[in-house]
Amino acid sequence: MSAWVTILGMVLALDGLRISTLTPAATPTQRSVGVVAVAAAAVVVALVAEPLLDAGDVSPETFRIGAGLVVAAVGVVRLMIGVGRPYDEVSESTRGLVPVAFPVALTPELIAWSASRGVDALGAALTGLAVAVVVALLTVRLDLSGDRRRLGDGWVRLAAAGITIVGVVLVIDGIRSV
C-alpha cells in the first residue's frame, strides 16, 4: 500500500468538517484542542501497535483485515446515515474535550487505521497524522451550524465513500499478504 493511501486514510479519519458539523456549540479553539488531543492519542496507538499485536498473538496481516473491515463498515454506515445528530452542548469542565475529542473526533476508523498503518508503515502513518492535524485544524474553524449543516452532511457522506474505499483496500492488502 502506498504512503499516499496511508496519508489519505488519516485525513479522512480525522475529519475537521465532520467535527465542526457535529459540535456547533464548541468554539474553534475547543475543537482545535480536541483535534490535537485525539491526534496525540492516534500517534501513541501507531507507536505501540506493534508490541500490542505481538502481545496479543495477532499478526499484522490479520490485523489489517480486521482493521480494514472496521474502517469499511464505519464508512458504509456513515454513507447511509450521514453526519448524525449534533451535540448541542459542550462540557466546559473538560474544556470541550467532551464531546469534541470524545466521542466525535475519536473514531473507530482513526484508531484502526493508525494502528494498522503504524505497524506496517510507521513513517507514513506519522506523516499522515501530521497532515491530517493540519487539515483538521484549518477546517474545524468553519461554522457549519444552521443551514450550513447540509454542507457538512454532504461532505461527511463523500468522505464516508472514501473511508469505505480505503477500508476495502486495507482488507485486500491483508488478504494478499502472507
Binding site: D57, S59, E61, R176, S177
Partner: protein, 393 residues
C-alpha cells in the same frame, strides 16, 4: 449529552471486545523445535509403515473409537503416501526406503500401456491423472535418493500419459477411459492438474531431452492465467501441487518463471497466508469453535503446509519473491507447530483399540485417513528445512 457520551463509551468497549473476539483472535502457534518437527515427521512415517500390508497397500482409514478400519482404497492417495515416504527417506531417514519400495511395487504392478504411454489402472479399468501425477514424483525422489535409474523409462512413459491427456489450453483431463480408448472430455480434477504439472516440471529438469519443457510451460501458463476461472473456482484454488511445480520450474535446470507465473505465486502465497493465519486461530473449543469452526483435517493442514513450502522454496529462487521468504517460512513453521500439537502421541493412542493405527496420526471427528499422514509428513519435512534456514540467518 452525558447519556450519549456514556453510550458511546459503552459502544467502544463492546466494539473492542467484539473486534478481538470475532476479527482478531490470537494466532495460537509458536516456532517448534527441530526435535519436535523431526519426531512428528518420523511418527507420521511410522504410522504409514506400520499400516503397510504384505500386498504393498497402506491401511486406508481408521476410527479411533471402535477400532474400525476403512476397507476402501484410493490409488491417488496411495501414490501420494508413497511419494511422501520417499521424501522422508530422501531428506530424513533412509530406513523408509524399503517400505516405500514395497508400496511402489504395488503401483507398478498396475501399469497399463497404450501407444507410447503407461498409466496406473484403476479397479474399474480407468486411469487417473492424479495417480500418475504423484507416482512420477515418487519415482524421481527415489532416483534422487538412490541414484538408481531402473525406472527412468517408466517415469518418462508416465509423463507421456500426462501429455496425452493435455489439451491445447494447458488444461489436463482427469481420466482416461478404456471404452473411449481416450480421455474423458470435460472432466478436470481440482488438484490433479497441479499434481500432473509438478510431475511434468520434475521430469523436465531430470530428462531435458525428453520433450517435457513445452507441456510444462503450457500448463504453467494455464494455471497462472486461466485455471481458476475455467474450472469454476469461486476463490483462488489453494493448489499446493502447483506451488511444488513452480518451485521445480525455478530450480537450476528448469525454465524459470515468467512475470505472470511470479504474479500467480504471489497471489497463491496470499491465499495460503490467510488460510494459515485462520487455522492458527482455531482451537476447536469454546468460542473459537463457534466463530472459526472446528480445526481442519490433518490432510488439509498438511496440504496447506506443503503449499506454503512450495511457495517458500520458489521465493528463495526468484528475486521478485525474495521479500516473501521470511514470512512464508514463519507461516510454514506455524503450520508445523499446529501439526506437532495436534498429532496423537503414544499415551493418547494407548486408549484406542488399535494403538498402532492411532499413534502418530491426525484425527478429525475420530477418524484418520492415509492422506492425513501423507500431507503432514511432507509439510513437516519442509518445515525442518525452513527452521534451519531461519536459524542460519
Amino acid at each position: 449529552m452525558h447519556r450519549r457520551v456514556a453510550l458511546a463509551a459503552l459502544a467502544w468497549v463492546a466494539g473492542l471486545i467484539g473486534f478481538r473476539v470475532a476479527l482478531t483472535p490470537p494466532e495460537l502457534c509458536e516456532v517448534p523445535s527441530a526435535t519436535e518437527i523431526a519426531f512428528a515427521a518420523d511418527e507420521a512415517a511410522d504410522w504409514a509403515v506400520r499400516g503397510l500390508g504384505d500386498d504393498g497397500r497402506f491401511t486406508y482409514g481408521y476410527r479411533a473409537d471402535d477400532g474400525g478400519v476403512n476397507q476402501s482404497y484410493n490409488l491417488v492417495r496411495h501414490a501420494g503416501m508413497t511419494n511422501a515416504l520417499y521424501q522422508h527417506a530422501l531428506w530424513r531417514d533412509s530406513d523408509a526406503l524399503e517400505a516405500a519400495d514395497r508400496s511402489l511395487d504395488a503401483l507398478l504392478d498396475l501399469l497399463i500401456a497404450r501407444d507410447d504411454w503407461v498409466a496406473v489402472e484403476e479397479p474399474n479399468g480407468d486411469a487417473k491423472l492424479g495417480t500418475v501425477g504423484l507416482l512420477i514424483p515418487a519415482l524421481l525422489h527415489r532416483r534422487d535418493l538412490t541414484g538408481d535409474e531402473q525406472y527412468d523409462e517408466e517415469a518418462i512413459a508416465l509423463g507421456r500419459f500426462i501429455v496425452a491427456q493435455q489439451e491445447s489450453s494447458g488444461a489436463i483431463l482427469n481420466r482416461w477411459d478404456p471404452d473411449l480408448d481416450g480421455p474423458v472430455p470435460g472432466v478436470y480434477g481440482r488438484f490433479a492438474t497441479g499434481e500432473a504439472f509438478w510431475a511434468l516440471a520434475m521430469l523436465d529438469r531430470r530428462f531435458p531431452d525428453a520433450g517435457f519443457r513445452e507441456p510444462t510451460l503450457l500448463t504453467a501458463d494455464y494455471l497462472a492465467l486461466e485455471r481458476d476461472e475455467a474450472e469454476g473456482e469461486f476463490l483462488r484454488n489453494p493448489d499446493h501441487w502447483a506451488a511444488y511445480g513452480f518451485a521445480e520450474m525455478a530450480r537450476p535446470g528448469g525454465p524459470g518463471l515468467e512475470q505472470h507465473h511470479v504474479d500467480y505465486v504471489r497471489a497463491l502465497s496470499g491465499a495460503f497466508g490467510v488460510m494459515a493465519r485462520y487455522e492458527s486461530q482455531r482451537s476447536g473449543t469454546g468460542l473459537t469453535l463457534l466463530l472459526r469452526g472446528n480445526t481442519a483435517l490433518g490432510a488439509g493442514v498438511g496440504a496447506m503446509g506443503e503449499g506454503i513450502a512450495g511457495l517458500w522454496n520458489t521465493s528463495l529462487l526468484v528475486a521478485d519473491l525474495e521479500g516473501r521468504s521470511d514470512r512464508l517460512a514463519d507461516r510454514l513453521l506455524c503450520t508445523a507447530d499446529l501439526l506437532v500439537e495436534r498429532q496423537i502421541d503414544e499415551d493418547e493412542a494407548s486408549t484406542s483399540p488399535i494403538p498402532d493405527l492411532a499413534r502418530g496420526a491426525w484425527f478429525s471427528g475420530g477418524y484418520t485417513q492415509v492422506d492425513d499422514q501423507q500431507h503432514t509428513l511432507s509439510a513437516l519435512l519442509f518445515a525442518e528445512d525452513a527452521l534451519r534456514w531461519k536459524e542460519s540467518r
